[in-house]
């Protein structure tokens, strides 16, 4: 696997799709290629998160602890990002991610990601834009939900 294939994957991640290839290459370079065997945990709910994972191959289950035991709430597969909140701010992991098959991921550590943002302010703007869009979308969903309830 070369950096170029990692860059291709990164391009397909919404958070990074406005960033030019050279910088994505750098981002890929300073990230870690992490492999997981089926059943291994990518992260555990409640622990301090320090990196986000971009799934390059394989799939994972997102599991949340409930009073009735663990419950699978979502699935993540190729090109999905899990745990990206952790590299933007200090919050505990909100879910456990378990490898559903053997997996290949690109792990972006918080330190390296912030370093890169500091180095390239353009990139911060791009990330902000994507986050803004997400916020906007969530706001709209919230409004829709409220109006549904009001009805």
């Amino acid at each position: 696997m070369t950096l170029n294939s990692e860059v291709e994957t990164l391009k397909r991640v919404p958070l990074f799709n406005g960033i030019d290839a050279a910088k994505l290459k750098l981002l890929a370079f300073i990230s870690d290629r992490l492999y997981f065997s089926e059943g291994e945990h990518l992260c555990d709910q409640g622990e301090d998160g320090d990196s986000a994972y971009i799934i390059m191959d394989g799939a994972a289950d997102v599991v949340v602890e409930t009073p009735n035991g663990p419950a699978k709430v979502a699935e993540a597969s190729v090109n999905d990002v899990v745990g990206e909140i952790a590299i933007l701010c200090d919050v505990p992991r909100t879910a456990t991610v378990v490898a559903a098959s053997d997996m290949e991921t690109l792990a972006i550590s918080k330190d390296n990601f912030l370093k890169l943002l500091r180095e390239f302010p353009d990139m911060s703007l791009e990330v902000m834009r994507v986050l803004g869009q997400r916020l906007d979308r969530m706001n709209r969903e919230l409004v829709a939900l409220r109006s549904q309830r009001a009805e």
Partner: protein, 867 residues
């Protein structure tokens, strides 16, 4: 000590100086004959008549006579130089011996200084005094008698000759001696004073530099670099001013000497010429006198230089001695005497202070007429904040500080009169900032047991010679290679038992885990025996089998396997399957190794590695094209620095224009160095592929085969059936690397190592290795808490009768462990704690509360604490 240099020289080298003097006398007749023989050759042999001649009973013809005289001359020349050689060597020997004696004596005096003295004299000042400042004395001492005798004798011979020719001219030749003799000492005196100042100034410079080195953390933390630079610049300027003043006078002296030496011939020409014209003196005599005067200048100049030099070293000697010749030195007996039986018993008796008073240099260091008694076998504490005199009292109870008035007695005998051999062996003191010496933890713990050698050193070839030299120079007769540790004093029989005891105590004071971790991490101890090596190798194999059987575990470690590429290791390690035996050699530097270079050339691997190096450089240049030089991204990579990257960029450009084939050797070596440093799994540059990895693995055996047995010792190979000397115990057990591309692999490795150690019962050896941990310069690698605990264990190991522990109890978590350890190890013996607050020692028999150098209250803890 002898107040003047000459008294010192006379006292210790009288006989040698006389020997030197006699050898000097021996040289005069030889010198005379070597002057006489040429005359004889010319007058008697070459232009002589009446042959054959009688030569020591032989009848010789003219040619034979000439040859006999010439060979006699040659023989005498050889003899003359032989005498000079012996003289010089002996002079050097005398000087060196005296220098060794002087340094040893000065150092011994430092050890006899009382503690308060060190507040006025720092190591920065003492060190240059003992080392650099006395250095010129050695050279001078050899010359002290021989040089003036030799040069003075020659001077006399020449003067006599001139006087014989004509007394009047003789008088002229020495006319200016009295003037020189008057002016020069005056100038010299000023030079001496300046020199004294210079010496003090240089000492201060040394002190400042020493202080800066020690306080470098503070300097960086406070941004005071500029201030220190300015301060030193000021001292250097003062030094410059003094030296310049010295130069001016020194060369003035030279000027006067030279001038007068030239002036005398003026008188010869004028007065002598007048006398010759008048017919009072023959022309030949004048010429002879002039020639003799020329020879006269040499010895006279030497004598004057000698005078200047002796004035200089005399000042140096005094400037050094006045710092060591202090009245309040401990008596030498204190460190040489052995204790009497009475004293030995007394140590086990009651400690009593009888109205002791003391005044330190600063406020809060005074004690005002303290009187108290401590029963033998009891545990007491003195509590008082800093500035209550507590620290001074603690030092006094340990025999380290003497009261100004009153006395401390042990079993009725004054502590001050006891020799250090008793105080140091039977009393233990742990100060507020205990000293840890450079070396290992083990040697620091054993430090308290090294009083006198307990056994002779084995197999020292030069022991007899060393002892003889030592006695000739007043040095100690103990050799450092002897066995010094007094195991019975610590209540053990062998070195191994002592280690066990040390580990037990370290464990009790809560340092066991730290030592364990140090042991795991420090380099494999060289002196561990073959059994343990075998044990570690078999534990390694078991760990390997265990991990290999488990898919998840196996994915977390990249083992060192002979036929597999290790993506977590550098390319160089993969290629050579070894590290350099020299641990200071970095991976990149391997490209400079001759053996490696030869191998790369012979096997045709060089172009292959240059290709990889260039690919790495290209990939990096492209990646970091947009980053500026200070980018911290590059640092975290640990592959090249920003400057190096710039260099590689230029090398690449050059390779492109000139073609790779024409690449200069230096450039290609730089690329090889870069390739060597590449760790494929960490630096994912897409440079390595399976084919390249296979080629590298295939070279391993070839490289090994290319080395001779001797050359193999330069490398430490990754052999699964042997321990790797530069790996730690943990690394040796795992014999691989945690994979960076798996989550939690480091934690897994740690766990596996811990399990292996547990299963194979390797903990004792890890602890041994921990004891071997190098603490750095003055314990720089240890934390303050660790230092204090090591000092405590050091004190307990020597099993003293009395222990004085100042500020060892600090109100922290470890207090209970420390308290239990001390009372456990000191059962039935006297324990004295110094603490900041009385609450810290609730379990003691008596608490003394101090305030303002007095004891404000004392009694059982319950009473004292309630009031």
């Amino acid at each position: 000590m002898e107040k003047s240099l000459f008294r010192f020289v006379w006292r210790y080298s009288r006989r040698q100086q006389l020997t030197l003097f006699l050898i000097t006398l021996l040289s005069f007749p030889i010198l005379y004959v070597t002057l006489e023989l040429p005359k004889l050759i010319v007058n008697d042999a070459i232009s002589g008549e009446n042959f054959p001649r009688d030569f020591f009973g032989l009848e010789l013809g003219q040619i034979d006579y000439l040859l006999a005289l010439c060979f006699s001359f040659l023989g005498l020349v050889v003899l003359n130089n032989a005498v000079k050689y012996v003289l010089n060597v002996y002079r050097g020997l005398v000087g060196e011996r005296m220098l060794r004696r002087l340094r040893f004596e000065l150092y011994r005096r430092v050890l006899l200084f009382r503690l308060p003295r060190f507040r006025k004299l720092s190591s920065g000042e003492i060190i240059p005094m003992i080392t650099a400042e006395v250095e010129p004395l050695g050279g001078f001492i050899g010359d002290a008698v021989a040089l003036p005798a030799f040069q003075g004798g020659q001077l006399l011979v020449y003067l006599t000759f001139i006087f014989v020719q004509d007394p009047f001219l003789g008088a002229a030749a020495i006319t200016f001696y009295p003037i020189q003799g008057y002016i020069i000492p005056k100038l010299q005196k000023r030079v001496n004073m300046l020199n004294k100042e210079r010496v003090k100034n240089v000492r201060r410079i040394a002190d400042r530099v020493g202080e800066s080195v020690q306080g470098i953390t503070e300097i960086h933390a406070n941004d005071t670099t500029q201030w220190h630079l300015a301060e030193l610049a000021d001292r250097l300027h003062a030094n410059f001013k003094i030296r310049f003043a010295v130069f001016r006078r020194k060369y003035l002296i030279k000027f006067i000497n030279n001038f007068i030496n030239q002036l005398t011939p003026f008188f010869f020409y004028s007065i002598g010429g007048y006398l010759v014209i008048k017919g009072d003196v023959s022309f030949g005599a004048l010429v002879a006198v002039l020639a003799a005067y020329k020879d006269l200048a040499g010895p006279w100049k030497e004598l004057l230089t000698y005078y200047q030099q002796q004035a200089d070293v005399r000042v140096k000697y005094q400037a050094v001695i006045e710092n060591f010749d202090v009245p309040d030195l401990y008596d030498l007996k204190r460190i040489t005497d052995l204790p009497t039986d009475e004293m030995r018993d007394a140590v086990k008796g009651e400690i009593k202070a009888e109205s002791i008073s003391y005044t330190g240099d600063a406020a809060g260091q005074e004690l005002n007429g303290l009187s108290f008694a401590i029963e033998p076998g009891s545990t007491v504490s003195f509590s008082g904040e800093d500035g209550t005199g507590r620290t001074e009292l603690m030092a006094m109870l340990s025999g380290l500080l003497s009261p100004d008035s009153g006395k401390v007695t042990l079993g009725g005998l004054a502590l001050d009169d006891m020799p250090e051999s008793l105080i140091g062996q039977r009393l233990a003191y742990i100060g507020v900032a205990p000293q840890i010496f450079s070396g290992t933890i083990r040697s620091n713990l054993r430090y308290g047991l090294r009083h006198r050698p307990v056994a002779d050193p084995n197999d020292l070839d030069d022991l007899a010679e060393r002892l003889r030299e030592a006695s000739l120079t007043g040095n100690t007769q103990y050799v450092v290679e002897a066995l010094w540790e007094d195991y019975p004093a610590a209540g053990v029989e062998t070195s191994g038992e002592l280690d066990l005891r040390a580990v037990e105590l370290l464990d009790q004071v809560g340092l066991g885990d730290d030592i364990y971790q140090m042991g795991l991490r420090s380099r494999f101890p060289e002196d561990l025996d073959d059994d343990i090596r075998a044990k570690i190798v078999s534990a390694r194999q078991r760990l390997y089998d265990h991990v290999s059987a488990d898919k998840v575990l196996a994915s977390k470690i990249a083992f060192w396997v002979p036929d597999a590429f290790n993506p977590m290791a550098t390319l160089a390690e993969n290629l050579f399957f070894a590290t350099s035996s020299d641990r200071s050699m970095s991976i990149g530097m391997l490209s400079e190794n001759t053996r490696i270079r030869e191998f790369l050339n012979a096997s045709g691997t060089r172009p292959f590695l240059v290709e990889i190096g260039m690919a790495v450089a290209e990939a990096l240049t492209e990646l970091f094209a947009e980053l500026d030089a200070e980018s911290s991204l590059l640092d975290s990579l640990n592959l090249v620095t920003a400057e190096e990257l710039q260099e590689y960029k230029q090398l690449l450009t050059r390779a492109e224009t000139d073609g790779v084939e024409k690449m200069p050797r230096d450039d290609s070596r730089r690329f090889v160095s870069l390739a060597f440093r590449l760790i494929p799994a960490r630096h994912r540059l897409g440079v390595m592929n399976e084919e390249r990895a296979e080629r590298i693995v295939a070279l391993r055996q070839a490289f090994r085969d290319s080395l001779s047995d001797e050359e193999k010792t330069d490398f430490a190979f990754f052999d699964r059936d042997g321990v790797h000397p530069s790996f730690s115990i943990a690394e040796n057990l795992i014999f691989g690397m945690p994979r960076a591309d798996r989550r939690g692999s480091q934690e897994t490795v740690n766990k596996l190592v811990a399990e292996a150690i547990e299963r194979d019962d390797l903990k004792p050896y890890v602890m041994q290795a921990g004891l071997d941990f190098d603490v750095g310069v003055m314990g720089g690698a240890l934390s303050v808490g660790q230092k204090r605990k090591i000092a405590l264990v050091r004190a307990l190991l020597k099993a003293p009768d009395i222990i004085v522990a100042d500020e060892v109890l600090q109100g922290g978590r470890d207090d209970e462990a420390v308290l239990n350890t001390v009372s456990g190890a000191m059962k039935g013996k006297t324990i004295i704690f110094g603490v900041n607050r009385p609450e810290l020692t609730q379990g003691v028999d008596t608490i003394f509360v101090m305030e303002g150098g007095r004891i404000k209250a004392s009694g059982v803890p319950a009473d004292v604490l309630s009031s």
